[in-house]
Symmetry: C2
Subunit: 454 residues, 2 copies
């Protein structure tokens, strides 16, 4: 009998694992169970589907179940939820959500790619119609339907993280009056204030109201539809659409019940080979931890790129390979209105709380030659180790040329370069694309000076 690989979850990590295993092992029997109705889609595109930049939900889907069956000989079952894992007998209990039937399936190798779910805070009235999270393709479809049926004029976004920012842009573009409430005193927890202040200006410039250090106490509805949100400061916001972006939680429960080790972060613990503490059981994607190369410990930073890389490694090893994924450096980028906002490594806030002996700098410099049109100022913040000068983190914000410039810093952090070495980098220069001293070099030079002065 053929060796059997079962993958739980068919989005980024799961389908990467299945595809990688198939490429290496034409002989393996590969089955994927996905709880939702879609596989292999880009959930990062949901705000753009809601805004209408992307027309049809199918556009977000890379490949469908039929493609995987016909082209890759991978059996994909959508609307199938895995309820339990029995490592001792190497089986899982699956429920067909369409007919309610449960059945057991045996495996030789298992990849857990159950992903994560949006946190729905325990707020009175949260079950009202018009209140959504943005996590699954189905969420996007429901929000779009709600908007087209109810034409909400006012929207409230709970949480000023990446998804909150992207949704603010999407809803403003649909003509809505948007308010964001953030319970922390600052937006974007992973960024420092010098970056956040630029983002806040951009929100304001686009008419978005931002309330910080405020949470929602209660949602009040009419006929089952949300109408008002009562805030912790007593303020009442009228809003017929509420989007909750209050973080996500790993779907690690069935793994935990099966005796699979869960890390301190609450996500599934894996080694560099993406294997859990139970041999033959791998985990990848938003349900799993990932090693952070600056912090030198496992963290929970669920992102699509990491899910794809981890999935590929899990699939290769489940197929008998020996691939390794060393880890991430915490790179992220998002767009909010005309701004590009990016980060990599650790923030100054984090450097401080983690006890690093660091030096930081903040500079502003043009994205193109000063005389070439279309450029814009980029603000760059860098954090380096005081003794070695090794780069620990970078944050950037601006209207032009930010998104891919952050990757130079990400690469430098991977390679453990010092700011001294970064200031020597031979970066591309032509007036339409960069000034002769790229903002990257200006920032590194500046931090180098500060370190020498120490």
């Amino acid at each position: 009998m053929a060796e059997r690989l079962v993958v739980i979850g068919g989005v980024a990590a799961g389908m990467s694992a299945a595809s990688r295993a198939r490429r290496l092992r034409p002989d393996m029997e590969i089955t994927v169970f996905e709880k939702s109705g879609f596989v292999s889609y880009g959930s990062c595109g949901l705000p753009y589907f809601i805004s209408g930049i992307i027309k049809a939900p199918e556009n977000l889907v890379v490949y469908d179940a039929k493609f995987f069956k016909e082209k890759r000989n991978i059996d994909v079952f959508v609307h199938h939820e895995v309820l339990k894992i029995f490592p001792a007998k190497r089986t899982i209990l699956v429920k067909n959500l369409e007919n309610g039937k449960e059945f057991e399936v045996g495996y030789d190798k298992l990849v857990i790619a159950t992903g994560a779910r949006a946190v729905k805070p325990n707020i009175k009235g949260i079950e009202l119609k018009g209140i959504f999270t943005v996590r699954f393709l189905e969420d996007g479809i429901k929000i779009k339907e709600f908007i087209s049926e109810n034409s909400p004029r006012k929207a409230l976004i709970v949480g000023a993280g990446y998804i909150g920012m992207e949704m603010a842009e999407a809803l403003v573009s649909l003509g809505m009056d948007v308010t964001i409430v953030e319970q922390m005193p600052n937006i974007l927890g992973t960024m420092d204030e010098e970056i956040n202040e630029i983002v806040e200006q951009e929100l304001q410039r686009n008419g978005v109201k931002l309330l910080k250090s405020v949470s929602v106490n209660e949602f009040i509805g009419e006929n089952g539809y949300v109408k008002k949100s009562v805030l912790s400061n007593g303020q009442v916001i009228d809003a017929e659409l509420v989007v909750v972006g209050a973080g996500i939680k790993p779907n690690s429960e069935i793994a935990k019940e099966a005796g699979i080790e869960i890390g301190k972060t609450g996500a599934i613990a894996v080694n560099q080979r993406m294997e859990t503490n139970i041999p033959g059981i791998y985990s990848a994607g938003d349900c799993a931890e990932v090693y952070h190369l600056v912090l030198n410990r496992p963290v929970y930073i669920p992102l699509g790129t990491t899910a794809n890389k981890q999935g590929k490694i899990a699939g290769e090893n489940a197929a008998g390979g020996n691939a390794v994924f060393k880890g991430i450096v915490g790179t992220a980028v998002f767009k909010v209105f005309d701004l590009e906002v990016a980060r990599t490594g650790i923030s100054e806030k984090q450097a401080k709380s983690e006890g690093f002996d660091y030096v930081a700098t903040l500079i502003e410099h043009g994205s193109r030659a000063h005389y070439y049109p279309g450029g814009s100022k980029i603000r760059v913040k860098l954090i380096a180790d005081r003794k070695t000068g090794r780069l620990l983190g970078a944050e950037m914000v601006g209207k032009d040329g930010v998104a891919k410039r952050i990757d130079v810093f990400a690469t430098a952090i991977h390679a453990k370069l010092s700011v001294d070495e970064i200031s020597d980098l031979d970066l591309s220069y032509a007036p339409p694309f960069a000034p002769v001293w790229d903002p990257i070099l200006i920032a590194a030079n500046d931090l180098e000076k500060k370190i020498k002065r120490n």
Copy 2:
């Protein structure tokens, strides 16, 4: 008496050196002699000044002589040519080009930043009016004046290098009918054919005629103005404007006469401290060699970014410091119509001629998430060492997101990363800026597979 620093040449390298020395040594006497009428300008902007994207020549000037005198206490003499260097007595012979007077000036430290000049090939009729090179700010002003006075309808560009490409775009944007002749069988000597074919398609799409393996035998004029160009294949091209982009040559003659060592490349030989073989005499910029970190030898690749970096190091050391510039990796980028074309490291052509044992790959992948508008295919070519997998070179071409992506490869080459390590990089992802598998990762993964198969 104060220590005296003299800098020969006041463009990128010279003014960087003078400024750096001033910052470190408020006490030094610093004098700069510049042959032309301008200092501290960006000659890379000339095509955009000619096309009209940049309105006034002053826009290309970063700071003028007055600024350097008033704000930095640096004496700058424009229209002053340095004719000779006398290292034994530590003086130079200077000629004031406005009144013809010659005088000697003493120095304690000397920085030679004499730059380079455009090669004017020895073609019959090259002295005719309407034939230009594009090197100095004055060249740009003359071309612009010539165009506005003579309204040329047809233009010939000699040489299909970076400047030829940028000038083709500029002249087409002014409504001219443009032909490029290139004496080699391929355009862009530093790029491989897989990139060049895309560039050639873009030229064609914009109505530029390209003739390869052809040179100009003679220019024929009327009343002293160029009218026809007779090619080596017998063809005659009507053109009232000719731009010669046939490469540049280091201005190393006065250094050579003074006994300063000239490298095999014809440019001034310097160590990592930018010092020549004569102690106290430094050189930087387009007149000097630079160390190539992949080829592991000095090369002549004159570029503005390198000039600035070298100038800064020369200035620091001339001021008594001990700064080091390790070298370059050969990064370059240019824009031609809607295309961004970039390279770093060595090409496959070079890898072959230099005897590297290499593996290469070519991929195409989108610049943004497949469902996000505004993206475009990027073609990526990578070259790596067969045994170690270390990246040796990268070339990219596309309409979106090429220019700064090449910098990731430039950083990786600096850090001596293998393609295996590159494929692990935590690069930024959001639908408006990149697909979940960035073209960089796709290319690295692909080359990794080829290396493993070996």
